[in-house]
Amino acid sequence: MNRLEVRHLSTFFDTDEGLIRSVADVSFAIRAGKTTAIVGESGSGKSVTSLTLMRLLPRTATTQVSGQALFVNRAGETLDLLTLPEPRMRALRGNEVAMIFQEPMTSLNPVFTVGEQIAESLRLHRGLDRGAALAQALRMLEMVEIPAAAQRLHEYPHQLSGGMRQRVMIALAMACEPTLLIADEPTTALDVTIQAQILALMRRLQTQTGMSILFITHNLGVVAHHADDVAVMYAGRIVEAAPVRPLFAIPEHPYTQGLLACLPSKAHVAGQPRPKRLFAIRGQVSSPLSPPPGCAFEPRCDQAQVLCTQAMPALVDTSALRQARCVRVPAAEVSKAA
């Protein structure tokens, strides 16, 4: 069963300099109980995708959102997150669909204690009174393994380390037992040993609660060990989608191939001398205001042909579970189950 099915999502910003297509025609699904990772670099549109799904884009932005985000709630109803009336969306947000962000210092309110912030969510969505909400907040802090939780309950975010704050964020997000957790670069700002703790915690919580996770990151090491399915984004579009092992074993899109090839750890082949040069993708991503005429990746692609400058390739099925957006990868005849 798919917990979330995104179909042809687009988010355009109408700016003074022109129309910026931050997210263009993005489609993917997140299975119940599984983790889907969206991988991309700067300008890929991965963060805007998650903000669009949560309807958290700034209200002042002149945004044009189209497409569908079909979410199956606890009652088994299918709701389109993009067209829900705001009061219903607010009832879902922080409740069935929760989000954690990259910078825990800026996403936790500095003038409220961590206990009060977790309690706020419980009081809003579960109707608990202050005492009961704080008691549950304490249980949440213990669940995310914060030592001396009873004391921390009454502390402010600035009194906690980065790793602790991220645990508080997770406790806050998990308080109402979401079925979908959106994690936008949750460990990027953390030290390596703390990152390992947080990732292990998230995996444990997923096993316990059966929630789905949409994991947004640029770190391929994290993707390799914490994702079930992967969607690679480039310049606002999905360029490849596959289950994690096939993606790493046989990347189909030249961008994915390049991304994996340029990792320093890939350069180290045991028994052979260290290569003098790493593989590098030449150039940089084009400005969203002046996209290339055809495929967005074509200017940087070693395998580009004339055809690539003529039109944006479609995202096609290349096998039962895989898709790629590249003229070089043949589409397969795949019968879709109803």
């Binding site: 670099e41 390596v192 640029h218 790493f248 990792l263 320093p264």
Partner: protein, 332 residues
């Protein structure tokens, strides 16, 4: 090619730090950012400085260049204590010792064109004087780092992060240094841009015979670029080893945990390591004895009482851990 140095000169490391300490803040309860660190860097070598928050790696980088003064200890350049140098002498020396910063957005003056930024470096050290000479050198520098010389008339905000970092490299190279401190030069860059800058640094290092102190938390990059590695935790050295040996067979429990915690981008490699518990302690209140003991899976009572000395376990391999029994068990 340089003339072959005499034997005596060849023995003296280019850069050496001896028992340096750098404390910040109150005298009674200071932040012990760097607490007794010693290492040497030979001419032509790239030494990696690895650690997490509070390890002291960035502070060490700045102390080596005398951008910060040591609270104690010595920094030697070719055997000479640079703290003893006059301001005038130090200024001359600075053309030999340069730095590339982490944040390509903060380290370039937004109000100066690239030509002015690079020109300032040249003018400060009286190099390539005269507009014609200077312009020629600036064009050369930009080409060296893979940027078109016409871009010299632009402002930093007109460049991407990767390009700005290249400009930072150009600025460091402008004054023909012998030694460069690279303080997390890749952290702010996308993965696909990182490999471009890594290649650039490796090329330049070879062409210009540069000596480097490479500060990073990214172990994969350190493994690729560095000859030897110093592993730091809470201001102290945990382990020193040649790169290949460190990654193949880390001796210190902290190094082992650090390596295990970095996920390899290969789903087929099992990630079975148990993450370290707890947080990094505050450098204002470091644990007694071994500073790592509060999170160390191998800690015993004695670890709280003894400050483990940095022992040479085998030639070139140092580890600060009293549990020699673990090394014997591992070798068995």
């Amino acid at each position: 090619m340089q003339a072959t140095p005499t034997n005596a000169a060849a023995q003296v490391p280019l850069i050496e730090v001896r028992h340096i300490k750098r404390y910040f803040g109150a005298k009674d309860k200071p932040v012990r950012a760097v607490d007794d660190v010693s290492f040497a860097i030979r001419r032509g070598e790239t030494l990696g400085l690895v650690g997490e928050s509070g390890s002291g790696k960035s502070t060490i980088g700045r102390t080596v260049l005398r951008l910060l003064e040591c609270t104690a200890g010595q920094v030697l350049y070719r055997g000479e204590d640079i703290a003893a140098l006059s301001n005038q002498h130090m200024r001359k020396l600075r053309s030999k010792l340069q730095i590339i910063f982490q944040d390509p957005y903060a380290s370039l003056n937004p109000k100066m064109r690239i030509s002015a930024i690079l020109g300032e470096a040249l003018a400060t050290h009286g190099l390539h004087q005269g507009k014609g000479e200077q312009d020629k050198r600036i064009a050369e520098l930009l080409e060296t780092v893979g940027l078109r010389p016409e871009l010299a008339s632009r402002f930093p905000h007109e460049f991407s992060g990767g390009q700005r970092q290249r400009i930072g490299v150009a600025r460091a190279l402008a004054v023909e240094p012998e030694f460069i401190v690279a303080d997390e030069p890749l952290s702010a860059l996308d993965v696909s841009i990182q490999s471009q800058v890594i290649n650039l640094l490796a090329d330049l290092r070879e062409r210009l015979n540069l000596t480097m102190l490479f500060i990073s938390h990214d172990l994969d990059v350190v493994e690729y670029l560095c000859d030897r590695v110093v592993v730091l935790y809470l201001g102290r050295v945990m382990e020193v080893a040649p790169t290949a040996e460190l990654f193949e067979r880390p001796l210190h429990p902290y190094t082992q945990a650090l390596l295990a915690a970095s996920p390899k981008p290969d789903p087929l490699i099992e990630n079975v390591a148990v993450p370290l518990k707890g947080d990094i302690p505050s450098p204002m209140a470091p644990p007694s004895g071994c500073v790592f003991r509060t999170r160390c899976p191998q800690a015993i009572d004695a670890c709280a009482q003894t400050l483990p000395p940095l022992d040479e376990i085998s030639p070139g391999r140092f580890s600060a851990c009293i549990r020699k029994d673990l090394l014997i068990a591992a070798a068995a």
